[in-house]
Point group: none
DNA sequence: CATGAATGAGACTTCATTCAT
DNA sequence: TATGAATGAAGTCTCATTCAT
């Protein structure tokens, strides 16, 4: 149907297949302990084929981070921008979604970036400025919206945003790093519900502060 | 009093000096990228001398974690157990202390453990069960105390504890992994103050819930 | 006259185009450091196409040597065989031509062969026996001619031939290997003139040796 | 007897042992085809030990060149500077020595440098400027001495020097690269004698040029 | 005929660990 | 007890060669 030249079809799918394989491997063993040969095996290709698509381990790592985080982030931004309705409900929804996502495999990425930040300064910068800052931005906007509409107490959105993100981070790291080895589980649903409840209450205007 | 000749003192201090050197090295480069030769150099000893005190890199890593976390944890436990006075104030104090500590070099340890959890399952288990669980225990006790004394709404302390820990974790990781590379700083003091305010309000009994 | 369709011309030219491309690449980077992909690119063909004409890198190398040296050698042989006139003038002409040729790109071939002799014994043998020996043969014939005609002192042509070849070799290697990196140039014309002068005088009969 | 610290004795001999082993290996197979593992085996050490003394293959190569050529060069310089007696005899002695040396294993170094010049520009520059230029300098001084003392015709020493060097170069390359594979040998002694004879005669004042 | 995607053997290099001194 | 020279397993990366298209 498409006029794709013979081999291209495969070639175009490859990078993304490799990145997926790499994510899996990195998540399981960490960046340093992952052998490129394993990544290749997971992707069902030869060792050298990796180098047709990525200039080395480092580039592959960066590609993993970029490919898996930016789409999710963009989705979150859009959700908040286009939302209407009461802010507390929006907060509940966003927090719930984030925490649920953090419990999944995507939550392994922060672990990777945090662990390797010292060895990949530019990746750390990218992650800090483009992912974390943008993520905080979404939450800041959410808080500002609530404050403006009188649904939240007047608070500095810059100071509050990290606190909204914190439960998600904790979930991501616990679920992807420690829980597999721990003797007790964390109930994500309860976690999310409690977080929303606690933060909502913390943000709502106190009665005596009202008019 | 002890008949130990002077130079024994040095010998007895060695393991701890080495562990300190190792912590510094691990924090700066991560576990895998740290060369034992660098640790030895930091400790001012020869490469081979390390092996007189630790059986290898792995043991050294575990010693780092054990040595630096358990004392802080024990201190926190004692503080809560022996405290009297209103719980909200105690919460403020504990959270403030924890977040401040997380911003310091000790906050680098979670980063290490999280990053290497997959490669050191028994260390991960140790950390999850002995450090995290015990840490949560302190916070759980704190919440339970407030609930019992009617200072907090009735809530499940198990569900709330992680939420109290989350800002500390975020601080630890941000300060020790990303901020050195990021273009913006996190104001720890504001962070702590806002966290306390938000969580206190979220925990306090709502007026209409009172009698 | 031939019924070959036009595009066959291209096909027939291919091997020679490839050999030219290979010569350029080998000369620039050396045999081992030359990637077949670069040769293909220089020749304007695909990597796999090389293998339709040459069975591998080694064959290609041999083809380069054979194709570029034998014609020049045959020309030199013919020149000496058919020459008449005084031998000193012929010596001057031949030496001048050889040194001039050595300064050009063809002079890069000795460099290649010499550098790879150990890895290509049969090529080394071919070069030693078919190129060098034949080349020496031309010079030997030249000297013998001069001796026979009483224009040169009686000398062993076998012993003199290498000495006539030496300036050419030095020129070839200097121009093609070292000069590009050196801070001083070699003046080929002066070199040739001085060589001819020196060798002519060295070969001419001394007056007291005459009758 | 020496107060050399335990391991030092060995450590100090090592670099030179390794360089010797490397020279042998490079000469036999060429730079690119030589595996560091072979060099190590020749030196009787482990693969990794090489890296305690040389930062890599490239450094090792450069060390080989520097270590083996500069002493011989310095010796030649001294010989000419301190010589007295007639210049033609000095010329005979120097040329004879050089050609004899070129026929030995040291003569393999030019082959190496020439073959790898393109891949080691700085080594090529070093060799061209420090070895070749200095070598030419010795010969230039020799010629100038003869001219000044009226033992040689007035000639430009700069133009003559390369011609004196050429037989040595040819000997070095033939003996070390091609002859092992060729069916005929080059008689070094005859070569040297003929070269001296030819060049001396070429340089001596012609009778009619005298007063 | 021509291509270039895919491969995997092989080389360089690093570094945890050992052990003679 | 302390050292650091030595080691070799293991990992990253290159590139000649193959073969489906």
């Amino acid at each position: 149907m498409t006029q794709a030249p013979r081999w291209r079809r495969r070639k175009e799918a490859r990078p993304s297949e490799i990145v997926d394989a790499a994510l899996g491997a990195f998540v399981e063993r960490g960046y340093a302990a992952t052998r490129l040969e394993d990544v290749a095996a997971r992707a069902g290709i030869g060792k050298g084929t990796l180098y047709l698509y990525f200039s080395g381990k480092e580039e592959l790592f960066k590609a993993v981070v970029r490919q898996h985080l930016l789409p999710a982030l963009a989705a979150a931004e859009r959700r908040v921008e286009t939302a209407d309705g009461p802010t507390p409900a929006l907060l509940a929804e966003v927090l719930g979604t984030l925490i649920a996502a953090a419990a999944g495999p995507m939550g392994a990425i922060p672990k990777l970036v945090i662990g390797e930040a010292a060895n990949f300064p530019d990746l750390a910068r990218f992650y800090a400025d483009e992912v974390v800052a943008r993520g905080f931005g979404v939450l800041r906007a959410l808080v500002a919206r609530g404050v403006e509409r009188g649904e939240f107490r007047p608070m500095d959105p810059d100071a509050v945003a990290p606190l909204l993100a914190a439960p998600m981070l904790l979930t991501a790291l616990w679920k992807n790093a420690l829980e597999p080895h721990a003797s007790r589980e964390l109930d994500t649903a309860t976690m999310a519900r409690t977080a929303v409840e606690l933060l909502q209450l913390g943000l709502l205007p106190r009665r005596e502060e009202g008019p």
